[in-house]
Symmetry: C2
Subunit: 419 residues, 2 copies
Amino acid sequence: MPLMTSWVASANSADCPFPLNNLPYGVFSTAALTPRCGVAIGDQILDVKTAEAVGWISVTEGAVFDEPRWNKLMALGQDAWAKTRNRLTELLAEDAADQGALADLLTPIADAELHMPIEVSEYTDFYAGRHHAFNVGTMFRGPENALPPNWLHIPIGYNGRASSVVVSGTDIRRPWGQLKGPQDDMPRFAPSARFDIELEMGAIVGTPSDGPISVREADANIFGYVLLNDWSARDIQAWEYQPLGPFQAKATATSISPWIVTAAALEPFRCDTPEREFELLDHLKDVGPMLFDIELEVSLAPEGKDASTIARTNYSEMYYSAAQQLAHHTTSGCSMRTGDLLGSGTISGPEKHNRGSLLELSWGGKEPFTLDTGETRSFINDGDTLTLHGVAKADDYQIGFGTCTGKVLPALDDPYSRN
Amino acid sequence: MPLMTSWVASANSADCPFPLNNLPYGVFSTAALTPRCGVAIGDQILDVKTAEAVGWISVTEGAVFDEPRWNKLMALGQDAWAKTRNRLTELLAEDAADQGALADLLTPIADAELHMPIEVSEYTDFYAGRHHAFNVGTMFRGPENALPPNWLHIPIGYNGRASSVVVSGTDIRRPWGQLKGPQDDMPRFAPSARFDIELEMGAIVGTPSDGPISVREADANIFGYVLLNDWSARDIQAWEYQPLGPFQAKATATSISPWIVTAAALEPFRCDTPEREFELLDHLKDVGPMLFDIELEVSLAPEGKDASTIARTNYSEMYYSAAQQLAHHTTSGCSMRTGDLLGSGTISGPEKHNRGSLLELSWGGKEPFTLDTGETRSFINDGDTLTLHGVAKADDYQIGFGTCTGKVLPALDDPYSRN
């Protein structure tokens, strides 16, 4: 598919993250405008709430965009999603009528504050990138036992905490937790000293379901994708995670990028899952190219200094797609709801510079890595800003995700002082 | 505290589960009444929605009981809870004025359908009963390694799935799942053959919090308690749970009893946690008697046959209280919201007949147990109805929880046929 051109001129350059082909959905506000649904086009945001209110867009009889979140549209399903996207494409295309009137609904992105684009119903995090699972398993159990026996047969996942999901730009306070290091006789309560990121993609469930759904249905129920950073306290996790999995290690925060890139915008970038050692059981089998070719990067900026790119990888490194994860999620009859958020699991690639967590980049802290500034890191320092970047690249346009960023603030001296 | 008498005569007998001392909160409907908040008194329910609408109760300026769930009151905090309870006590006491008018707001419990009393925000399940953890650990790892090293220092918990929580009386469909038994070369997708219950208490968070809270604050934030059955597919769990914990094994359903017994009603039944081998760290220490003396039972009724009591235990067998679980839940900064539900973990006692799961009662299926009907069970058969019972007993009155019941329906021939 070629670049589609818009009357919003900034959307028409080959390196613009938000061309007419993209149309990602967010929630924005300005000094003059309360938080509301908007769609990014070039360096502008179209006010979708007002566009609906004045009659430019009509999806159903009632209002769909009267709340500062996209959940109402998400719940309506694929036909409504296509209708909305088609109408927005029409309104913003180069040859659109009424460009003057529509231009009044534009706000420069630079002037807007971006908010959580959805109300998260529940949050599930997977562990479905093979290189990451192999790296972490090797560190903890050696390369022969790196992958648990179930790993090649089901997308391993666990339930996270929806109340911890925040939008990109939110500062992240280093957590306290119960820790017991190899040198400690007894556990102690202290700030995490091994605070980390996980580079992930988040898939957002639009259409709800009740009972098991097929991979094909699951794929159709996914509204869109965001960048997702699952902040992780490795030392808290090491002490708490046996036998029931991570809990407080993952509950401090999970950041998502503010723009939902729709499944529709990503269609041209579909690609296959990797070759498999074991055929998946029927209910999890691929039903076509299940992944997307999305280039991903992590950068780290020490306080007051320039950012260094510390990792580059691609969403196509996943072993299981979001649709396969969602299908697995429903096997036991689990109801899925509009606004459920599924983290892909950390996306690492085969090489050292492809690793999507500091745990892997520093090999558990044993091999600190060097930033462009000359400083080294094993885990996150106070004041560091970590940023995820994502983009799908066609020949003459890009589908950008924007960034997912967060600055780590020092732990409180007394974690109970806030209360 | 003695029995408090009511003008609703059925509330005044020593064996009534719902005397004036109790006043549990539920949501009910009848042929004539839409679902609404109600409080149980004797064998009747007082329509709290109407009581508020006509001016008998006024908690705040706006309506608190205009929705069929208790979340609005829960969010208002302890003072509003006390005000509501005091006013309901006044209205229903033996010497109350206006008994005739209030009697018009009564519905016999027998005529009402009971619904979910709250909207569950998120659901967390703990593993904080020592006898259960020891029994399960012994089966899987032997008695020397039964308790994981962290177990005596933190209440181990994992996030469950709020969308799976249903009210008592809801039929439970036996789930399918990916299984790999010791005899299987490869995993297969099949109905669970080891479907089980977990006898638990659920604590309901009323007051929200942001950041770490102390055990004392946590205790004050708990609105009330319910019986909770965390239906568990042991064979799905065995294959999936390493390394990140239970997932689909626990996602079929979790049933709760329809009546929320308030923390206030349970105050006279406070009792101490068990003696500890290791002192807890300061942030988790007991701040008084943290548990409640609540007698618990499980009964099993095969299809069309009488129920047998298969286990008797007590909530005082817990190692960690709900307040300690909630405090731990917030250590890393995790926000808690009105409507969060915390499962205690399976409550077993020291003896064989005190075990709160079939896994323990049949010792992993190796020692089937016998029902009063002469039949034996290792795990749940299709058509079995499992019921939890709970009551706190004073000298001359009881605080009853009612029951938490569910019938297990056979697995679907094709789990995808519903879609």
